[in-house]
């Protein structure tokens, strides 16, 4: 956690950043729901009313996060637009 943000790197080279102050009043916790719906290692879980990581940063970067992008997209529609995923591509302005 850093400056009120929950941030972690993903395997393909990119970052998931969650602005936690926006999550305080979020009733849906859509990011957690979609993460758990993936049937995978369940990267996100709720801890004291906020999204938290269930795995170490190393485990997530090793492939724990399946990069479905669901947390960002569902948060945008049903949450508080708190999730931003950055996926750089060297050589291309992204």
């Amino acid at each position: 956690m850093n400056d009120g943000r929950l941030e972690f790197a993903v395997r393909s080279g990119g970052t998931v950043s969650i602005t936690l102050e926006r999550c305080v009043d979020c009733e849906t916790k859509a990011c957690i729901k979609v993460c758990q719906a993936q049937g995978g290692p369940l990267v996100l879980d709720e801890e004291r009313g906020l999204p938290a990581l269930r795995w170490s940063l190393e485990e997530i970067t090793r492939g724990g996060c399946v990069e479905c992008l669901g947390c960002e997209l569902d948060c945008e529609l049903y949450g508080r637009q708190a999730v931003k995923i950055t996926l750089p591509l060297a050589g291309l302005e992204v």
Binding site: V10, C68, G70, L89, G91
Partner: protein, 424 residues
């Protein structure tokens, strides 16, 4: 597969102690003069392009003096060879020779083994020799666990006609070193044609080395750009960018090749250039078969299959839409077990960033056909995010055939052109 240019191949040969003529790579007349001063006349000027039969196409020319060098360099740098622009030339010492041979190491799929190949009639028209006089081509399958010993190569050359004992020994050494290169570099083909017999021993006058594209990650020392196999040309900038998406991440694949990078084919044949992505190479081909007769030309091939993570779909969609001049986009999945909701998420994120002013609705005709596992979820996501409601977007489901996808795209494109008029 990654094919090396001649000068790159010769650099590898030298690393494996196979002699080559002294040479310099140049890109201008000034550099050619400097190379000539260092090497001395007579010289050969050789176009560095990915094509065979350069000699017959004006891509290899002798230069006895400065005037001939200037003429050769000027003409070769300004004239395409078999349609390929010449960006660099190899200025090389002209070697006096007694005889030209052919040697190669390649994989024989029928034997599932590498095979050493020797032919006493090397040089131009080797393909014809292989076809018309197969009895002159000597082959030796190699057990990769055992490797090649000098006496194996000597045995292969035992039946080679008109080779002296000394020649036979020296050519056998070249064969062993060429096999060593083939294995060490994960090559698919290591070919020297011709291998010249000179008074100072054998010299490789040309080199064709093809590296297994899937093994490039193991060979940073080769400094080769990763890219899908794109025929006999340099990989484009976008192909090189796309190739990095799969690098070190084997969670599904995105294979991207630009078929018509500058849209020249589409323009020449009065086709509409479009971006293209399919789940499965087979459905790509059938979709092209449907689209091309209707007047559309996919300027890229893309197979995003093997259940790639959504981030790969996001990145490759950005790459596809980076192609300038495309007037439409078609995405089609084959009926497979690929988790299409993830595929859809990648596309949705890309669209939202590409078309922020419309909330992710493309402003060019776009048809997306989701057929397979989680297809209903994929279609729902596109609706929920407002993409499907786009004026120039159509989303189809599992019931749609390739023909219907193409016809839907055609109708959409016609309406788009009618509204945009000349601007389209």
């Amino acid at each position: 597969m990654t094919r090396l240019l001649e000068h790159q191949g010769k650099e590898l040969l030298r690393r494996f102690k196979i002699p080559t003529p002294e040479g310099r790579i140049v890109g201008s007349l000034e550099e050619a003069h400097e190379a000539a001063r260092q090497i001395g006349y007579p010289l050969l000027v050789k176009a560095q392009v990915y094509t065979g039969k350069r000699g017959k196409s004006g891509g290899v020319r002798p230069a006895e003096n400065e005037a001939e060098l200037e003429t050769a360099v000027r003409e070769m740098l300004s004239t395409p060879i078999r349609g390929l622009l010449v960006e660099s030339l190899l200025i090389e010492q002209l070697i006096p020779l007694r005889r030209e041979l052919y040697v190669a190491v390649t994989a024989d799929p029928s034997l599932r083994q590498p095979v050493l190949i020797f032919c006493a009639n090397g040089g131009v028209d080797i393909e014809e020799t292989f076809h018309d006089r197969p009895e002159t081509v000597l082959r030796l399958p190699v057990d990769i666990l055992r490797g090649v010993y000098l006496y194996d190569a000597l045995n292969l050359l035992r039946d080679a006609p008109e080779l002296s004992s000394r020649d036979r020994l020296e050519v056998a050494q070249v064969l062993c070193r060429l096999y060593e290169l083939y294995r060490a570099c994960d090559a698919k083909l290591a070919e020297i044609n011709p291998l010249a017999l000179t008074d100072n021993g054998p010299v490789a006058l040309d080199a064709r080395i093809d590296i297994d594209g899937d093994a490039l990650g193991r060979h940073p020392e080769l400094s080769l750009a990763l890219a899908e196999e794109a025929g006999e040309r340099h990989p484009t900038r976008l192909e090189q960018i796309a190739a990095t998406i799969d690098q070190g991440d084997h969670r599904g694949t995105v294979h991207f090749v630009q078929i018509d990078p500058d849209l020249s084919y589409a323009r020449q044949h009065q086709k509409v250039p479009i971006g293209f992505d399919c789940v499965g190479a087979g459905v790509s081909l059938t979709m092209m078969d449907e689209l091309v007769p209707l007047g559309f030309y996919p300027v890229n091939f893309c197979d995003s299959s093997g259940n790639p993570v959504a981030s790969k779909l996001y990145r490759i969609t950005r790459v596809i839409f980076s192609q300038p001049g495309i007037a439409g986009y078609v995405f089609v999945s084959c009926v497979s077990s690929q988790q299409l909701d993830n595929t859809a998420r990648g596309i949705i994120k890309a669209f939202k960033e590409l078309f922020p002013q419309t909330g992710g609705q493309p402003d060019i005709p776009t048809v997306l056909a989701f057929r397979g596992a989680w297809d209903e979820e994929a279609i729902r996501l596109l609706a929920d995010h407002g993409i499907s409601a786009g004026r120039w977007v159509r989303v189809l489901g599992r019931e749609a055939t390739e023909q219907e996808v193409a016809e839907t795209f055609q109708a959409l494109h016609s309406a788009w052109v009618a509204e945009r008029g000349e601007a389209a």
